[in-house]
C-alpha cells in the first residue's frame, strides 16, 4: 500500500508527469498487489464493479469538462477558469482538473485490464 505514496509524486501540472503518468503508476500499484497476493486479494480492496464504474464516470466527466468550454462559449476544451480569475495560477486550474480526471480514468482502466486478465485463471 505504500506504493500508493508514489502516485502522488507523479501527479503534477508543473512538473514532469501529469494525468496519464500518475494514472499508470497508480495502476501499477494495483498490479503489484495482484502479482504479489493474487487477484482475489487485489479485488478485495478494488472491487471490479466499482473500478468499472469509476472508469466510465471518469470518461463522462472528461467529456463534460470539455463541453463546459462550449457552454461558456469558448469552444470545446476551452478554459473556463480563464473567465473567472485573472491571476495566472488559477488559470492552470483547468489543466489540473483535466489531469485529475485523466488520472482516474487511466488508473482505473489499466487496473481493470489487468484484473480481468488475471481473473480468468
Amino acid at each position: 500500500m505504500i506504493l500508493f505514496g508514489f502516485y502522488l509524486l507523479a501527479y503534477g501540472h508543473t512538473s514532469p508527469g501529469g494525468g496519464f503518468q500518475g494514472g499508470v503508476v497508480m495502476a501499477s500499484g494495483v498490479i503489484l498487489l495482484v502479482v504479489a497476493r493474487g487477484a482475489k486479494a487485489a479485488e478485495a480492496i478494488f472491487p471490479f464493479r466499482s473500478l468499472s464504474t469509476t472508469e466510465a464516470v471518469a470518461f463522462l466527466a472528461f467529456i463534460t469538462a470539455g463541453l463546459s468550454g462550449i457552454v461558456l462559449s469558448i469552444g470545446f476544451l476551452g478554459n473556463p477558469m480563464a473567465r473567472v480569475y485573472t491571476s495566472a495560477v488559477p488559470r492552470v486550474g483547468m489543466t489540473l482538473i483535466l489531469n485529475l480526471i485523466i488520472g482516474i480514468e487511466v488508473g482505473s482502466g489499466v487496473s481493470l485490464i489487468c484484473l480481468r486478465l488475471f481473473r480468468e485463471e
Binding site: T53, A56, V57, F59, L60, I63, L67, G69, I70, S73, I74, G75, F76, L77, G78, N79
Partner: protein, 549 residues
C-alpha cells in the same frame, strides 16, 4: 460562434458514445440508451447539409479547439474533400447503426465502440493537422480491433490480430513521415503547410510523403497492403463489415488524397494508377474463386478501391470527381450488399453460398435490395455503379491501365451472378423462418428493412441523377461546374454495357469448373507476405522519389 457547427460533427457521436456508456453503467436504461446514442448520428447529417452551401462557394471553414490560435491549437477544417469524406461517413454510419438496433440486440458497449469509431472517422475527415490525423486514425484502429473481434469467434480474433499487427506497423511509418515533415518544416498544421513549405521538393519531403502514404495505404488496403482486409471484413459482425467496407477505407483513401495533394505528390500518380488497376484485377480474380459469401464481398471491396485509386491517379480534369463519385457509390452499394448478405447468413446459419439455399422468397425485400446492390456494383444502368463507371471511363481516357479495369468489370459481373443464387426465389422453407437463434428471430426486423431500403433508394437515386450528383461533387472539389459530361443515358452508352454483361455470363460459366478455388485456399502465412509487402512498397516509393529527379 458561426464556425462552431463544425466541431459538433465530432461532438455528436462522442456524446452519443457517452450515452451508450451510460447504458452500460445502468443496465436498466440500456433500452433507451442505445437508440438515443444512435440518434446522435443524425446531427452530423444536418450540420453537413447546412455547411454545404459555404463549401460549395469555395470557402474553407476552420475551427480551433478551445480557441487556441494556430499553430498551437487542434485545428479542424472543412473543405470539399472533407465534406465528401464526412458525408459518406455520416450516411453510412446512420444506415448501419439503424440496422444494428434491430433483431441482433447488440449491447450498449457495442454502440459505445461503434460511436467512438464514427467519431474517429469524422475526425480523420475534418482534421486540420497531421498529428491529429494520427490520433484519429488510431482511435478508429483501436475501436475497430475491438469490434472485429466482437463475436469472440476464432476467425474473428485471428482476423483482428492480423489487422492489428499490419495496421500498427503501418502507422509507425505514418509517424515517421510526420517526423520528417516536422524536422524539415517545423509545422504540422495542414493549412500552414499548404501555404508554402509542403511544396518544397527535397528528398526528405519525398521520403516523408512516401512514409505517410505507406501508413495510410495499409488502412486503405490496396496492393500490396490488402492482406488483412478479406478476413477482417468477412469475420466481423455484419454491421461492422458494412461500415468498414463502406466508410472506413474511403475515409483513409480521402486522407491519402489530401496528403498527396498537400505535398504536391503528382509524381506518384503513374505508379498509383498501375497499383490501382492491378489491385482491381487481382482482387476480382480472388473474389471469383471464393465460396464464403462475405469473403467474396470483401475481395470486391479491394477491387473497387482499385478503380477509385486508379482514376484518381489518372490526373485528368475530372479525376477527382470520378474517383470520389465512385467512392460514394461504392460506400452505398457495398454497405447495402454486406447488410443484405449478412441478413442471409444470419437467416440460414451458413456462410458457404452453395449451402445457403435460395432465400428469395423468405426475404423478398432483402432480395430486391441485394439485387439492387449487385446490379450497382456490376455497373448496370440505371444504378449508381453504372454512372460512376461511365465517369471513370472518361476520366481514364487514354490511360494504358484502362484495359485491366475493363476486364475487371465483366469479372465483377460474373462473380455477382455466382453470388446471386442465394437470393433467387426458391422453395419456401418456413420452418427456418420461424425458428430462432438464441431466442432472437432469424428473419430481419423492421429496422433492418428500413435501413436496407434507404440504401437501395440512395443507390437508385445517385444512379438516375448521376450527372447531377457528379456536378455537385465537381463543384465541391474543384469549385467549377462539370465540364466533361459523359453521356449517361444515350443508346450508345447503354449499349456499351452489353459486352460487359455478356462476357460476364461467359466468365461465370467458365468459372463453374472450379480450379481457381485452389488458389484462394493457399494459406497466406503472416511472415513472408509482410516482409515482401512492406519492403516492396517502401522500395517502390523510394525509387520513385529518387527517379523523379
Amino acid at each position: 460562434m458561426t464556425d462552431g457547427g463544425l466541431v459538433w460533427i465530432l461532438l455528436a457521436p462522442l456524446i452519443g458514445a457517452s450515452v451508450a456508456l451510460l447504458g452500460k453503467l445502468f443496465p436498466g436504461a440500456s433500452k433507451v440508451a442505445r437508440p438515443l446514442a444512435a440518434a446522435s448520428l443524425t446531427a452530423p447529417v444536418f450540420i453537413l447539409i447546412s455547411l454545404a452551401g459555404r463549401v460549395l462557394r469555395g470557402e474553407v471553414i476552420r475551427y480551433s479547439l478551445g480557441g487556441w490560435p494556430q499553430p498551437m491549437g487542434i485545428a479542424l477544417t472543412m473543405d470539399g474533400i472533407a465534406w465528401v469524406s464526412a458525408a459518406i461517413t455520416a450516411v453510412i454510419a446512420l444506415a448501419v447503426v439503424l440496422y444494428s438496433l434491430g433483431r441482433e440486440r447488440y449491447s450498449s458497449e457495442f454502440f459505445f465502440f461503434f460511436l467512438m469509431m464514427v467519431t474517429g472517422m469524422f475526425g480523420v475527415a475534418v482534421t486540420g493537422d497531421l498529428f491529429t490525423m494520427f490520433v484519429f486514425f488510431e482511435i478508429i484502429a483501436v475501436t475497430i480491433y475491438v469490434l472485429i473481434a466482437w463475436e469472440g469467434t476464432v476467425t474473428g480474433l485471428a482476423a483482428s490480430f492480423k489487422y492489428l499487427i499490419l495496421s500498427s506497423t503501418g502507422i509507425l511509418f505514418f509517424l515517421l513521415g510526420i517526423f520528417l515533415v516536422y524536422r524539415e518544416t517545423g509545422i504540422l498544421s495542414i493549412s500552414l503547410l499548404g501555404e508554402g513549405p509542403a511544396g518544397t521538393d527535397t528528398a526528405v519531403m519525398r521520403l516523408a510523403l512516401a512514409s505517410l502514404c505507406v501508413g495510410i495505404g495499409v488502412r486503405t488496403a490496396f496492393i500490396p497492403f490488402h492482406t488483412w482486409l478479406p478476413e477482417a471484413h468477412a469475420y466481423a459482425p455484419h454491421p461492422i463489415s458494412a461500415i468498414l467496407s463502406g466508410a472506413m477505407i474511403k475515409v483513409s483513401f480521402f486522407a491519402m488524397v489530401r496528403v498527396i495533394m498537400l505535398f504536391k505528390g503528382e509524381y506518384l500518380y503513374p505508379m498509383l494508377t498501375w497499383i490501382g488497376a492491378i489491385t482491381a484485377l487481382t482482387a476480382v480474380v480472388s473474389a471469383l474463386a471464393q465460396t464464403d459469401v462475405k469473403r467474396l464481398l470483401a475481395y470486391h471491396s479491394i477491387s473497387q478501391l482499385g478503380y477509385i485509386l486508379a482514376v484518381f491517379a489518372a490526373g485528368s480534369s475530372i479525376a477527382l470527381t470520378a474517383s470520389f463519385f465512385h467512392a460514394a457509390n461504392h460506400a452505398l452499394f457495398k454497405s447495402l450488399l454486406f447488410l443484405t448478405v449478412g441478413a442471409a447468413v444470419r437467416f440460414s446459419g451458413e456462410r458457404n453460398l452453395y449451402r445457403m439455399g435460395r432465400l428469395g422468397r423468405e426475404m423478398p425485400v432483402f432480395a430486391v435490395a441485394f439485387f439492387a446492390g449487385a446490379l450497382s456494383i456490376s455497373g448496370i444502368p440505371p444504378f449508381n455503379g453504372f454512372a460512376s463507371k461511365a465517369f471513370i471511363v472518361s476520366g481514364m481516357e487514354g490511360s494504358i491501365a484502362y484495359p485491366l479495369l475493363w476486364i475487371t468489370s465483366f469479372l465483377t459481373v460474373a462473380s455477382f451472378i455466382k453470388l446471386g443464387r442465394i437470393y433467387l426465389p426458391g422453395a419456401a422453407t418456413s420452418e427456418i423462418g420461424n425458428s430462432e437463434i438464441q431466442g432472437l428471430k432469424r428473419t430481419p426486423g423492421a429496422l433492418e428493412t428500413i435501413s436496407v431500403s434507404l440504401l437501395t433508394l440512395a443507390c437508385v437515386a445517385t444512379g438516375v441523377f448521376g450527372t447531377r450528383t457528379a456536378d455537385f461533387l465537381n463543384r465541391l472539389l474543384y469549385g467549377t461546374p462539370l465540364s466533361v459530361v459523359p453521356d449517361l443515358f444515350s443508346v450508345k452508352a447503354l449499349l456499351k454495357t452489353l459486352p460487359v454483361a455478356v462476357l460476364g455470363i461467359a466468365a461465370y460459366k467458365l468459372v463453374l469448373t472450379e480450379t481457381g478455388q485452389r488458389l484462394s485456399q493457399k494459406v497466406k502465412a503472416m511472415a513472408p507476405p509482410l516482409r515482401v509487402v512492406l519492403v516492396l512498397f517502401l522500395a517502390g516509393l523510394l525509387a520513385f522519389a529518387a527517379a523523379a529527379y
